[in-house]
């Protein structure tokens, strides 16, 4: 335990539960609003996609008007001419849904279809259209106008009642004494039950709205209940948090409560926005995407990847080929980054060097430029006809090189770009680490008549290694997953040979429309990196033991 002991826990007053009640009320209101909006959006999209605009005066049109909705939609077939495919898909807008007469929200399934299959979204006159199917056949839809349905007003009375009931329960149970833990959890459960009733009623009303539309127009509308069921859960969260807080202040974990409080925001945000998507991605790895539906296929994706598919070992689409390229790419880059960064740092760290500040400032310029800009610049510089590099070669009387025409040429272009991009980081880390090397060691070495190489080998390197090795490990992980450079500079040319695992995964997802396969691919990449990190951790530990 640190010297920083927590102060004694104060008895809990009424403030905390009152705050929890307000938070619970606000959260459930937000959740319900979102559920309601989402439902309205889904209905609107359903109308836009499935229903032709009814002629004015028809019973359908009256039904729409009664619900506050207005739809003008038509289908176009066949598809208009495809968009020019000059730009890389990565830099293309993924979806254009804003039409002339207002934006239309789309349902999950539609979004998936649109996101998945085409990506070559193009703007058509008066609206947005997107192509279905990878081949360009099939239908295109032109959503001209789809007014969103008005969301239903929230049942404020019921929500307030639920929150008050929960507050009363908490106060009654908690004041009675007994286990604080049990009281907290019981109150939280009651609160969620109380707040759940109006949420579910609200959802039922929403579904009624959808059903009325469906009855008037024919077809089935989107359900609202599953999403609205989240509202009781969110309403229960503050009470659960209060229960947990109580647990820490009164119970076993109390000495650590400040630590947990400090950690909570980070863990919550990283958990929700990094770990939850990761878990969803992992689940996707066991599915296959078919006509907008996800089908569970078990381990099939992994088997296909790890068996190399039907491709020969030398084929760019074979997993092991790509893995080999990735390892080569990582080793080359990390070696260059480390050597260059360390050399420059050693040069800059020489005592009495003039212009040091200027050199250092100019040498970190590449780091300050966003990597996608760097990548696009270098792609231009390696252009066979217009690129600066071939012009420089020409000025020297050399033949222009078709950089993207050969594996090694494209690899060289990628590595050059990434080296430019990455050496400043290693230089700065090395510079910092060098500052911690005590100068008197060098003086002693000088007195002993050591050569510069001996000074480097026996003083600098052993003292730098512990500080540099984590940076090298992190750098290799970043390089292993360096998407921008590969995708934008060589784009995998020639014939996908210079693709690394991460760009290959991206292509499977967004060019081959196989998202489950791509997710499995990404997961394999992750496992490889994890194994690598574990291994280097072992190595570092072993090294530390050796060096003491």
């Amino acid at each position: 335990m640190s010297p920083l002991a927590s102060p004694p826990a104060r008895p809990q007053g009424l403030v905390a539960p009152a705050l929890a009640a307000v938070a619970s009320l606000a959260l459930s209101a937000v959740a319900l609003t979102q559920a309601s909006r989402y439902h309205a959006g889904a209905l609107t999209a359903w109308l836009a996609a499935e229903v032709s605009a009814p002629p004015p005066g028809a019973p359908q049109a009256q039904a729409l008007a009664a619900l506050g909705a207005r739809v003008e939609a038509r289908r176009l077939a066949p598809a208009p001419a495809p968009a020019p495919a000059s730009a890389p898909g990565y830099l293309r807008p993924l979806l254009h849904l804003d039409g002339a007469g207002g934006a239309a929200r789309v349902t999950d399934k539609e979004w998936f279809d649109a996101y998945w299959a085409p990506r070559e979204a193009w703007t058509a006159a008066g609206g947005a259209a997107w192509r279905r199917g990878a081949t360009g056949e099939g239908e295109a839809r032109l959503v001209t106008r789809a007014t969103p349905l008005a969301p239903r007003p929230l049942p404020w009375g019921a929500l307030l009642g639920g929150a008050l009931a929960a507050l009363a329960t908490w106060v009654l149970v908690a004041r009675r004494g007994g286990g604080a833990r049990g009281a907290g959890l019981a109150a939280a459960a009651l609160a969620s039950a109380a707040a759940g009733a109006p949420a579910l009623l609200h959802a039922a009303a929403l579904e009624g709205q959808g059903a009325a539309l469906a009855a008037a127009l024919g077809g089935a509308a989107a359900p609202a209940l599953p999403l609205a069921a989240l509202a009781p859960l969110t309403a229960a969260l503050p009470w659960l948090a209060l229960g947990v807080a109580h647990l820490f202040t009164r119970g076993r974990a109390s000495p650590h409560r400040l630590a947990y409080a400090y950690l909570a925001p980070t863990l919550l945000s990283v958990g929700l926005l990094v770990f939850v998507p990761f878990a969803l991605g992992v689940a996707l790895a066991f599915t296959r995407h078919q006509r907008g539906e996800l089908v569970w296929v078990g381990l099939q994706n992994f088997v296909e990847i790890l068996s190399g598919g039907d491709y020969a070992l030398t084929h760019p689409l074979n997993f092991y080929f790509t893995l080999g390229v990735t390892v080569l790419w990582t080793v080359l880059n990390v070696a260059l980054h480390t050597t260059l960064g360390l050399t420059l740092a050693l040069l800059l760290n020489r005592g009495g060097l003039r212009l040091r500040g200027i050199y250092r400032a100019l040498l970190i310029v590449p780091w300050a430029i966003p990597s996608y800009i760097t990548a696009l610049i270098w792609r231009g510089m390696f252009h066979q006809q217009y690129g600066l590099i071939n012009h420089a070669l020409g000025a020297l009387g050399l033949e222009p090189v078709a950089w993207m025409g050969s594996f090694w040429g494209a690899m060289a272009a990628n590595v050059a770009t990434n080296t430019w991009l990455g050496f400043p980081f290693m230089m700065v880390v090395s510079l910092g680490a060098l500052q911690s090397v005590p100068r008197d060691l060098y003086e002693a070495a000088d007195l002993a008549g050591a050569t510069p190489w001996q000074r480097f080998r026996h003083i600098t390197l052993p003292l730098l290694a512990p500080a540099l090795s984590p940076a090298v490990v992190l750098g290799s992980v970043w390089t292993f997953n360096m998407f921008n450079v590969i995708y934008l500079v060589s784009g995998g040319q020639p014939g996908g040979a210079t693709d690394i695992l991460i760009t290959e995964a991206y292509r499977w997802a967004f060019e081959q429309d196989r998202y489950g396969y791509a997710a499995a691919y990404s997961l394999v990449v992750f496992v490889i990196l994890l194994a690598y990190a574990r291994l280097t951790q072992r190595l570092t530990r072993a090294a530390e033991e050796v060096y003491g």
Binding site: P277, V282, R354, I369
Partner: protein, 290 residues
């Protein structure tokens, strides 16, 4: 420079080598390398300053004709100021949230010993290995479910969550190097554990906080692909999304792109130069060592 010191034959007391050659040869390596490093950047500057949209074909470092027309076109484009504001706002909020979250978390991980400490550290490290391709579509769903598509808040949430793990490790490394005696003596003087962090540790950590803020800022300021995915409304675009459109689907306006690239890079560049001392100190000590 300084008179020869008897105790060290090859170096004076500043550690500077003696002899003209020993002082000159590092420049023979550093000068050409620095020049080479600056070529791509200068090429962009040149393209931005000439009144054309095509690739530049001459080897001269100066444009054949000078013009600010590219900058005028970029700045004068519809919604430019709106999109610039989006970028600044998103980056500022991300920096604020990122530094606040990571500083508190790093302090807890550095100074307290509690049951889940190692697990938390490990979990934060593991996130650095999550492949972006795996996260993108689930993230889209999540942000959509939160109703935050086309909203600054959606980007801020995602960016800070992405930036925080690295920032936590960096700051934790720095906090680890701060001597505990300072805190213990503050404790003796009657400072509470909360005041200890906010009044003693944070002010001592300014260099590392500056670097952490810089990284948070860069995460948001430079990010392209998530912004392009989440922001479909032109009014919600950030700078990078706007910028790529100059060399995107329907156009190859390299002059505009170069001018825009300079505008995007300028603030980061300025921050880098302002913070370069802290960068060396704040990254090192912080480094990434656990």
């Amino acid at each position: 420079m300084s008179p020869p010191a008897p105790h060290s034959p090859a170096h004076d007391e500043e550690g500077a080598p003696r002899g003209a050659w020993a002082r000159a040869w590092p420049h023979l390596l550093l000068l050409p390398f620095t020049a080479l490093t600056l070529v791509p950047a200068l090429w962009v500057v040149k393209m931005a300053l000439r009144p054309a949209q095509s690739f530049d074909l001459s080897l001269s470092p100066l444009p054949e004709a000078w013009s600010l027309s590219n900058f005028e076109a970029v700045v004068g484009a519809p919604l430019f100021w709106r999109q610039a504001f989006n970028s600044v706002w998103v980056s500022a909020l991300t920096t604020l949230v990122g530094v606040l979250f990571s500083a508190t978390a790093a302090y807890a991980l550095s100074r307290y010993r509690f049951p889940a400490r190692r697990a938390a550290l490990g979990a934060l490290l593991v996130t650095q290995m999550f492949p972006g391709t795996l996260m993108m579509i689930p993230l889209y769903y999540l942000v959509d479910a939160l109703g935050l598509l086309n909203e600054v808040a959606g980007l801020v949430l995602v960016y800070s969550a992405t930036a925080v793990p690295f920032c936590v490790w960096n700051l934790k490394g720095y906090f680890d190097t701060l001597p505990r005696e300072i805190e213990e003596s503050a404790l003796m003087d009657g400072a509470g554990p909360v005041a200890l962090f906010w009044r003693v540790v944070l002010p001592l950590s300014r260099p590392a906080l500056a670097v952490t803020a810089l990284f948070s800022f860069m995460t948001a300021w430079n990010e392209y692909i998530l912004a392009a995915t989440f922001m479909s409304d032109e009014r919600a675009y950030t700078f990078p999304v706007r910028l790529q459109q100059y060399v995107g689907e329907f156009s190859a306006e390299w002059g505009y792109f170069a001018a825009g690239a300079l505008l995007v890079s300028a603030p980061v560049m300025a921050l880098f130069f302002a913070l370069q001392r802290q960068l060396v100190g704040g990254l090192t000590a912080g480094g990434v060592k656990g």
